[in-house]
Amino acid sequence: MKTLFLNIGILAGMLALTGCVTNKPYDYTNFRAHPPRSILVLPPINQSTDVRGTYSYLSTVTRPLAEMGYYVFPVTEVDALMKENGLPTAGEMRGVSLDKIGEIIGADSVLYVTLKKYGSKYEIITSVTTVAADAKLVDVKTGLTLWEGSTIVQQSSGDSGGSIIGALITAAVTQIVNSATDPAHDASSMANFQLFTPKDHGLLYGPYFPENRKK
């Protein structure tokens, strides 16, 4: 009996240590009580130093949500409508009340995204691209939070062929290529996939998700 308790103690300790990996499933009570059919994605609030962040990230959000079976409002048209109505920035758009969103767009839920990090950094021997975001899905009718999640994706230029000079050149070249093509855009796609799909922590499937593909 003593060893059993000891084992449980060790197990509990291990669980605590690996807490961020094995934490308990997300509480979907609100989600199940108010399952949305449609999602309005507002342009993310950009806390990074790269001005491209908001719209680059926004353009990668629709696809994973649509593939999970939701109607996703066309982001360009929503953005244009907000701007026409005197809300030029993501910050001002976030201030729009749920009542107004229900009335003007007819969305069931709103996804608020905050971009914590976005961009590439040259770090002597590697060039690191980071995209980090927090997201919150809110029910338009009740104001309840249906789901929350966060994600971080880091990619480094890495491969250098061994020598330090090679490493420096690779990093510099990667950095130049990166500034021209914005790899954070691709990293954003990956970040979204990680954000919405993990088992027990991602979003639940929406109404258009084919029954036969549900796990």
């Binding site: 629709t62 109607y71 996703v72 409508l81 767009i105």
Partner: protein
Amino acid sequence: MKPDKATPELQASPMEEDMHRAISANKPLPPGFHAHLGNLYYQMGKSDLALQEFQKEKTQFPESAVFMDRLIANLAKK
């Protein structure tokens, strides 16, 4: 090319190709596709085509009705 430098014409033609491919393969188009194409037609001055696309979006996804009706109303106003 930067996305904001692409003209509506340049953006609409690959979407039209995608639409024809989807129709011939009998596959549904994703949410927002018709709405966005409609908006491009509107920017090109083709309001009648824009109206058709907004209505297709609404038929395929009834969730979009409130928003599409608003875009259709704006079309009539301008």
